[in-house]
């Protein structure tokens, strides 16, 4: 999500000779206006979500603007089931992120660094896990749990979330491993470091940005997941499951508030990350 690599614009690209006037109108006016329009379209539900978290509505039906209030921020945890669902989501996201990050990093190192028998098959499984529709992941896991009569709940959700985040962490870390400069590790070994020390002091810190990006991705995937979770959740409710259920009768304003806070938290982390990276570079 936050790992988009943009190549620096070529320094002062020479102005194309005799650019037709009509072309300039396209690139100076029409396309930028269109892009901003689309950005507005993409942001519209977010703006509405934020605004109607401040709506002074009565009861559950949050339909029209009835005045400004911060009541919903004060009564954020008033709806017991919603609060429980949000807490479940956070706990599940933290646990599955930790497991997926550790195991996924190991996969990324194995695939990025070594050639071994069966690597092609491993690559294929990773590729399939990323490209398989979530529906199929959920349905097949449910088939497994039903067949072995494993009771669905907290554990099955964590297992499922790790299963779909693993591959994403693995490819993120692998990309970083492939970009490593081998001379750094060679230098450490030349200075007498044993393999484990080299790994801990040199390799791991160099891989850290990839691992952090993978972990953030795993967390985001987990906390947002509805499809897979809906199949394997049993009686346990997570935040997306609760909200989906609530859409039938009307979403209470607390959901807007929670959505707003999660949004601000995520944007804060992303912007902070970008600023930090810029400062390190500059």
């Amino acid at each position: 999500m936050t790992t988009i690599a943009t190549r620096e614009a070529p320094p002062e690209a020479a102005p194309a000779p005799a650019v037709p006037r009509s072309r300039r109108r396209w690139t100076r006016l029409i396309l930028p206006a269109y892009t901003w329009l689309m950005i507005f379209y993409l942001s519209l539900p977010i703006l509405v979500m934020i605004a109607f978290g401040f709506n002074d509505t009565t009861g559950r039906l949050n339909l029209r603007w009835q005045g400004f209030t911060i009541r919903w921020y004060q009564d954020l945890f008033q709806i017991q089931a919603l609060t429980t669902a949000l807490r479940n989501s956070l706990v599940i996201a933290v646990i599955s992120t930790v497991i997926a990050t550790v195991i996924g990093t190991m996969i990324g190192i194995a695939l990025g660094r070594y050639r071994f028998r069966g690597k092609g098959l491993y690559d294929l499984v990773i590729f399939s896990a990323i490209s398989a529709p979530e529906l199929v992941l959920g349905a097949s896991l449910l088939s497994l749990f039903v067949s072995v009569q494993f009771v669905r709940g907290f554990v099955t959700i964590v297992v499922a979330h790790v299963a779909f985040s693993l591959a994403f962490v693995a490819v993120t870390v692998r990309a970083r491993v492939l970009g490593l400069d081998p001379t750094m590790e060679e230098a450490a070994q030349d200075l007498g470091a044993d393999p484990w020390t080299t790994f801990r002091k040199i390799t791991l810190p160099l891989l850290a940005p990839g691992i952090v990006a993978g972990a953030l991705l795993a967390f985001a995937l987990s906390i947002d997941d509805y499809v897979v979770t809906s199949f394997v959740a049993g009686q346990v409710e997570t935040f997306p499951l609760w909200v989906f259920g609530a859409t039938r009768i009307g979403v209470p304003p607390q959901v807007n508030v929670m959505g707003t806070l999660i949004f601000l938290g995520g944007v804060g982390i992303a912007v902070g990350n970008a600023l930090l990276a810029r400062r390190q570079r500059g």
């Binding site: 999500m1 988009i4 690599a5 943009t6 190549r7 614009a9 690209a13 000779p17 072309r23 396209w26 690139t27 396309l31 269109y34 892009t35 689309m38 950005i39 993409l42 942001s43 539900p45 977010i46 979500m49 339909l63 029209r64 195991i103 996924g104 190991m106 996969i107 690559d123 499984v125 590729f127 896990a129 990323i130 490209s131 398989a132 529709p133 979530e134 529906l135 199929v136 349905a139 097949s140 088939s143 497994l144 039903v146 299963a163 693995a170 990309a175 985001a220 809906s230 199949f231 935040f239 909200v243 989906f244 609530a246 859409t247 959505g259 949004f263 995520g266 944007v267 992303a270 970008a274």
Partner: protein, 287 residues
Amino acid sequence: MSARRGRLTPYLVGLPGGLWLGIFFVVPILVMLSLSLQSGNAEEGFRFTWAWSNYADAWEFYHTQFVRSIIYGLIVTVLCLVLAYPMAYWIAFYGGSRKSTYLFLILLPFFVSFVIRTASWKFILNDEGFVFGPLKDAGLLPGDFHILATSTAVIGGLTYNYLPFMVLPLYVALERIDPSLVEAAYDLFASRTQAFRRVVFPLSLPGVFAGVLITFVPVASDFVNSGILGGTQTTMIGNVIQTEYLTNNQYPLASAMSFMLMAALLIGIFVYARALGTEQVMEVSQA
């Protein structure tokens, strides 16, 4: 000793992940395949009987939803491509130093839960909501006007939710194009249209392929949008599979449907990947 350990290292490092993906990704799909050929019921249990009839039944009962999902998938993919291309093109060639900012703004929806985003559209499009309500009160819209529960709402919701997925690979492909190639085309007296059609567009095709793939697969199997924004006339195959699994406990039938969907989509993916090279699809999809 050390050389031997060296040879074992990749297996040891890759083992936990391999086991996890084996047990919770590969095995479940095989179990689902087996379940799709079983017969019985939820109370007495299911037995493996080579019940190919599950597949015939699935097609007979639900081919409407199956075909509808594919059609929605195609419409949404084309809409996303048409809406995303001009944006990706402009940002890639004229974004200058603010490219990252534009991309960040396009990715903003990802910071809000998928379900909440879709619920937010339901709220915006509500028959009596803050958009249509006042218009109806003012007599500008007929009282029974509605968008929710129509295919317009579902296709609109899907297009909204998957648009950023299309922008990214297009942007990555367009950004790689060397601007001097385009200038060369102008120097050789190409018109604006010709330069685009003969130089820019062909070079962006890997992005188009990847974007189509990344959009079509999840859209065709989506059931959140039609669950929240749709009605009985917009049911997609994902909704049917979910209901058959969770409400009706018709595991063999539901497994057969999931398998048919997966087979249809995977064949599509591998034909694509073959035509284009897995590495490239992976590379673009990671961006």
